[in-house]
């Protein structure tokens, strides 16, 4: 709940046309910006957010720090891609915009999306970093897109020059099927150094993904299910610690996206969360959707417990909250997770089944938040997947949405 004024620096250079992040780099960035704005204003209503573009004809401030979310979202429309990113000028203009904020009590923060190559050398970046530190401005860097020319090292140098008491962060997001915003949700960019961030991160993710937000942290709150809320929170903490590994597994995740149904069921089941720490973020999203299905799911979960041992993997983690609106999927997922408790890595193939509709799955995947989790389970799945081709066949054979 820190009172903060944030300036977001968007990269709208030519490099953003690339499609290695779905749907395009630029669109992924815009989604992430929208989520960040929501998260910031939600964590503290007095927070303000401003946006500027770094490429195009030159650095241009689209909106000065304001708490009006509509204004921010509106200015993201009609942005044109072109030109080259000017990182140094962008940061300096952002610093100037923050200096003239209306509420001087707000802490200053700049969030930079660095998607194209950085043409400045380390020395210049370090000087800029020191100047930011001197004026107590925190800096978050999202390193995505182009990753050559020593760009990660340059950005790391910039971060170490700015960093004061771990208030600044850098996130490297490699290309993959996971949406940029999903990866960012579990990072300190959203969670604000771990101070209750999971609450609004979850809520923001849920709001963006499901649209049926209950407004609760993790979708379910102590009112309804204290144990579940606690388990989710614990899972969330653990998941956050492993987010980077999860990003690497994005590729494998895609194959398992179909399993989306498992996600909600996992979240439903308190015991499940213990095994799947990763599912927590997805679980939150799912929860919103599943609120109505909760009873049905619990019943199915009980039924599932009796069921046969399928090597379902609890990992289902890739949040498919939208995808699992169907009870059948949920039931299946529940079953999977129950079975899989002893061995996390049942097999990736499990994921593949579930959703009969491929197109539905892919569309859901595109909008899924928090895809990154699943580090341990994903790893296990990969290992088991390679060793168990048969399992895959088994999965393929099974019709989607099968009930137990």
């Amino acid at each position: 709940m820190v009172l903060e004024a944030t300036m977001i620096c968007i990269d709208n250079s030519e490099w953003m046309r690339n499609g290695d992040y779905t749907p395009t780099r630029f669109q992924a960035q815009a989604d992430a910006v929208n989520l960040i704005c929501g998260a910031k204003t939600q964590s503290n209503p007095e927070n303000t957010v401003g946006v500027l573009t770094m490429a195009g004809k030159g650095v241009r401030v689209l909106v000065t720090p304001t708490s009006d979310l509509g204004k921010i979202l509106a200015c993201m429309h009609g942005l044109e891609i072109g030109g080259e990113m000017n990182l140094a000028a962008g940061i300096q203009v952002a610093q100037l915009a923050l200096k003239h904020r209306q509420n001087k009590k707000q802490q200053q923060r700049i969030i930079v999306f660095a998607g194209s190559p950085v043409k400045y050398d380390k020395k210049v970046l370090e000087t800029i970093g020191r100047k930011l530190k001197k004026n107590s401005v925190a800096l978050d860097i999202v390193d995505f897109g182009e990753g050559d020319d020593g760009k990660p090292e340059k950005l790391e140098a910039l971060l170490s020059a700015v960093n004061n008491n771990d208030s600044s962060h850098i996130i490297h997001v490699p290309p993959g099927p996971n949406a940029l915003s999903d990866v960012l949700i579990s990072t300190p960019v959203f969670t604000g150094d771990g101070e209750g961030g999971s609450g609004f991160a979850a809520a923001a993710a849920a709001a963006a993904a499901a649209g049926g937000v209950s407004g609760f942290d993790f979708g379910v709150d102590p009112n309804l299910d204290p144990e579940l809320a606690l388990a989710l929170r614990v899972s969330m903490e653990e998941e956050r610690a492993r987010q980077e590994a999860a990003a690497k597994r994005a590729a494998e995740e895609a194959a398992r996206q179909e399993k989306g149904g498992e996600q909600p069921s996992n979240s439903q089941d308190t015991t499940m969360t213990e095994h799947k720490t990763i599912t927590a973020p997805e679980a939150e999203n799912k929860k919103n959707d599943l609120m109505d299905d909760e009873t049905a799911l619990l019943e199915q979960a009980l039924a599932m417990s009796m069921d046969d041992p399928r090597t379902s993997n609890s990992m289902g983690d890739t949040d498919m909250s939208e995808a699992t609106t169907e009870d059948q999927d949920l039931a299946f997922a529940l079953q999977m997770s129950v079975q899989d408790n002893p061995k996390d890595s049942a097999s990736q193939t499990e994921m593949n089944k579930v959703l009969g509709d491929q197109s539905f799955v892919s569309s859901i995947l595109a909008s899924l938040p928090g895809v990154d989790p699943n580090d341990p389970s994903v790893k296990d799945l990969l290992a088991s997947l390679q060793g168990q081709s048969e399992a895959e066949q088994k999965n393929d054979d099974k019709p989607p949405n099968e009930d137990k």
Binding site: K133, K134, N135
Partner: protein, 178 residues
């Protein structure tokens, strides 16, 4: 006006520490492990082991608001011989200054501290410029040796309140009365 001595406070002048509004005290470019409280707060500033240190470079910008309007008479800044502050600029009633606008307007007073000052001799400011001070900004521009780090052991501000709520001991002679 009474004669100054190296350690004595002017007659009627009190330590303004009681009137500092701690919720608004800020210091830019301070090292987080050696912060302003080490130099300003009672008890901390007497401790030789605790000091205020600058972080990214040698400049420091200290903002001190007061709970009531005061008149500033002099200040005392103690520090080590080489890393102690040298050029100090004071700004009265200028809020939320940053390093970029310290040179935008002239300071209410500026001081070049000598080694005597660093050992504990108070520096008398231009009293007329500090007659009704709501907040004080202290800009430490550089230090004695010219290095990258400035250390300040102790900061004491001497003055009086603008209203007549004097400590009874100092009532012997009033130069100022509302």
């Amino acid at each position: 006006m009474s004669v100054e001595s190296a350690t004595a406070i002017q007659r009627n002048q009190v330590d303004l520490l009681d009137f500092v509004d701690w919720s608004g005290v800020e210091c830019l470019n301070q090292n987080s492990s050696h912060s302003l409280v080490n130099a300003l707060k009672q008890g901390y500033r007497e401790d030789e082991g605790l000091h205020l240190e600058s972080d990214a470079d040698e400049q420091l910008l200290i903002y001190i608001p007061f709970t009531q309007v005061i008149k500033l008479h002099s200040f005392l800044m103690k520090g080590p011989e080489d890393e102690g502050p040298k050029t100090v600029k004071l700004f009265a009633n200028k809020e939320h200054m940053g390093f970029s606008n310290v040179s935008d307007f002239p300071p209410s007073d500026s001081a070049v501290l000598s080694l005597d000052n660093l050992k504990g001799k108070p520096f008398t400011v231009k009293y007329v410029k500090f007659q009704s001070v709501r907040s004080l900004t202290i800009f430490i521009e550089d230090n004695q040796c010219g290095g990258d780090v400035t250390k300040v052991q102790k900061i004491v501000l001497y003055g009086t309140t603008q209203d007549v709520t004097f400590i009874l001991e100092g009532i012997s002679k009033f130069d100022h009365y509302i």
